[in-house]
Symmetry: C2
Subunit: 433 residues, 2 copies
């Protein structure tokens, strides 16, 4: 599956990345500086930040939406919705109402002012009640706008937004091996609810769906039971359902300048259709079924060479510790220690030439009718532009040895507006205002 190759893409790709980062090749090879800057902040970066309690509230207001660089919470409920109204006013009102409810719920309050158990005896409560007594639990709610909100596949300008569609917000291209189910792909809108208590995440989505009755309907929904990425240097690296540490080299909240380069839509959109998106980001989701049965039948060696890391410590092959820099030049027994078809080799910023902020979750959705668990990774990535983010990485994974063990069954892309600044602001104001 692997072997010496004088034409290894490592050198070329490294140069591409380093150009983007403005770092010289020597720096990378000598000390892993670029990989380090992307994958792991220094001890200094993390020192000043006290770890919040898992039950605390995450601030809702800010320049960016919470739920992107927020240290990844343990549980996820993600929902994609279709807008069922033709009324722009109704859509705008919903976004205002959603913002108000999200502001309240992320603070640990009921979705509405009346609450779950007060108010008119003969009126429906304005909160469904299952989170009564539960703390904020780190809840974040992140909203995104899909390409079809701007223009339908037939070119219809549904809400007068066609001229404001950012050029990068287009359906993802097809990739070899895709087995996408349209029923669980796409969507006009999305809501990502992350929390350290699944009941809090489910409660948030359920109440936002309730508030949207008559304006939106659920297109698809995905629960994730466990995070598979760290997005902060203060977090341990979790393990995915292949049993490997995942996200060691992920972008992290502490990587300020790298976030500006790779995650946040920046000042260069000024005067363009995407200006409303400045401070926002693009969200890509992929439901990735993991074929755990063949994986579990493969040898430890095969697994490690597929990933490019050791299963125990998570160290890159040929290195000793998880955060040791990936060295694409070391040879062991005449072969490169990190096979060039390994996932780490191909996905690593050094070789993919870019970086994305991953924020995915493991799922088990029952069984598949063929005697197997329907399990995998609900992949979530944030990036400044899907074309130079996920699409570029995924294209580089064309020969990934891991492809044998995964199937992409759902796909979606959304533009996530910037954060809600204050009590008068609302999701999408810059877009609709």
């Amino acid at each position: 599956m692997t072997g010496p190759d004088d034409g290894r893409r490592g050198g070329l790709s490294r140069r591409r990345l380093l150009g983007a980062l403005g770092v010289g090749t020597a720096g990378v090879l000598a000390g892993g500086a670029a990989g380090g800057a992307l994958g792991r902040a220094t001890a200094d970066d993390a020192a000043g930040a006290p770890a919040p309690s898992p039950t605390d509230a995450v601030p809702f207001h800010g320049a960016h939406q919470a739920g992107i660089v927020t240290p990844a919470q343990d549980r996820l409920h993600f929902v994609a919705l279709d807008v069922t109204t033709d009324s722009r006013d109704e859509l705008v009102q919903l976004l205002r109402d959603w913002t108000a409810a999200a502001r309240r719920m992320t603070a640990g309050q009921d979705a509405g002012e009346v609450g779950a158990v007060a108010g008119e005896r003969y009126a429906p409560p304005d909160d469904t009640g299952e989170a009564i007594g539960l703390p904020p639990s780190g809840l974040t709610i992140t909203v995104g706008f899909g390409p079809t909100l701007f223009t339908t596949a037939d070119g219809v300008d549904r809400f007068g937004l066609a001229a404001r569609r950012p050029a990068p917000l287009v359906e993802l291209p097809a990739f070899p091996g895709d087995q996408l189910d349209p029923a669980i792909s796409g969507g006009d809108l999305c809501l990502q609810a992350c929390a350290n208590d699944p009941q809090v995440a489910v409660h948030a989505v359920r109440n936002l769906v309730r508030i949207g009755a008559g304006v939106v309907s659920v297109r698809w929904s995905q629960l994730g039971f466990g995070r598979t990425s760290s997005t902060s240097t203060g977090q341990d690296t979790p393990r995915n359902l292949f049993g490997f540490k995942d996200g060691t080299a992920n972008l992290k909240a502490e990587n300020g300048s790298a976030l500006d380069r790779f995650v946040w839509v920046g000042d260069d959109v000024e005067g363009t259709a995407a200006e409303w998106l400045r401070g926002g980001s693009y969200l890509v989701t992929r439901r990735i079924r993991m074929l755990v049965e063949p994986w579990d039948s493969s040898s430890l060696d095969e697994q490690q060479r597929t990933i490019g890391r050791t299963k125990g410590s998570g160290a890159p092959l040929g290195q000793r510790a998880e955060f040791d820099p990936v060295d694409f030049t070391t040879q062991v027994d005449g072969e490169f220690a990190v096979p060039e078809t390994s996932h780490v080799f191909l996905a690593h910023p050094t070789n993919s030439g870019t970086a994305i902020l991953r924020r995915g979750y493991s799922f088990v959705d029952g069984s598949d009718g063929l005697g197997r668990l329907d399990a995998g990774l609900f992949f979530i990535a944030f990036q400044r532009d899907p074309a130079t983010g996920f699409v570029q990485v995924q294209r580089n994974l064309r020969l990934d040895a891991m492809n044998e063990y995964v199937r992409h069954t759902s796909s979606a892309v959304f533009a996530c507006p910037p954060g809600v600044r204050d009590a008068d602001d609302w999701w999408g104001r810059a877009l609709f205002g």
Copy 2:
């Protein structure tokens, strides 16, 4: 929906129950003693038991299987399996192998002796690795045997067990309103994994399925993200997806004599086909879709009269606090405070004439293709006999006002053997030995 009724079943049913409990009617009405004994232990019962940490191990060996009266853990992975081999020996070996792996995993160890990251480089690991570094997290694994393991629908004695099928182990009868999907019902075997970390529960099921390759295959699988019952007086009562506290009057671990009466198969099976099951219990599962959209559109009054409790405190209607005894005689404004079509009225031991130990979990399984979340309760109940347990309760719920808001979509029943006594014992030894 409700009204004064001279023939209310409360009195009669109370007498039935009290006969079963050997308690006089006066005692109940005066102090709620019987209801109290079933639904809530006294302070004395709970005093001596220090609450274990959610990360601790639950002992695997014992007279009864863990995962029944064990204080309900937060997360569930339940799987039903079909046996694909015709070999009794292979089935017995699997039960031995499962027992060994469960003994290890509940102690926080890898599924096998070699583990996830050691042993032969070119052999598959004997653990899948995603739980490396995670504590035992209260993991319990409970096994059950379905009716089809003993005799197929065609009457075939697959494994020489037909003569040992306990008479109560038969498919559940059909109930009005059932919308069961056979693909997610039944099963030759089941494994219930409960833990306070979902990754630990998923890891346990996944490894037991892996060990069963070639002998069993997954029939259906269900994740539960949050417990909806307390099974110990030391636990807070959780809320279900209707937003109400659930399981206030549940049987609890501290109700020793009631457990012997209602949960554990007892000495009276001596000399019968069910003798091997002494110390075990019957497990009934029902996947109950909750129609949250109409529920969320109903008034607080309607919701409370449907349940029979207040949404805030969980107090029975007409009472003040959650654990106040349910009083089926109090009238408010000329109507009974607890409507006789309310769920609490009909399900309460006083009126159903029996008691079951509920151990269910909330689920959200994506969406239903009609714009709605596919959410609900994965109901689990343990009882000494399904006929006088779940079936009796469910029949009494025929006029339950809650039926408007729920649909049963899957059903299964299993006989759970007694506990594994020691290191030489294994699940089902008394059945197969």
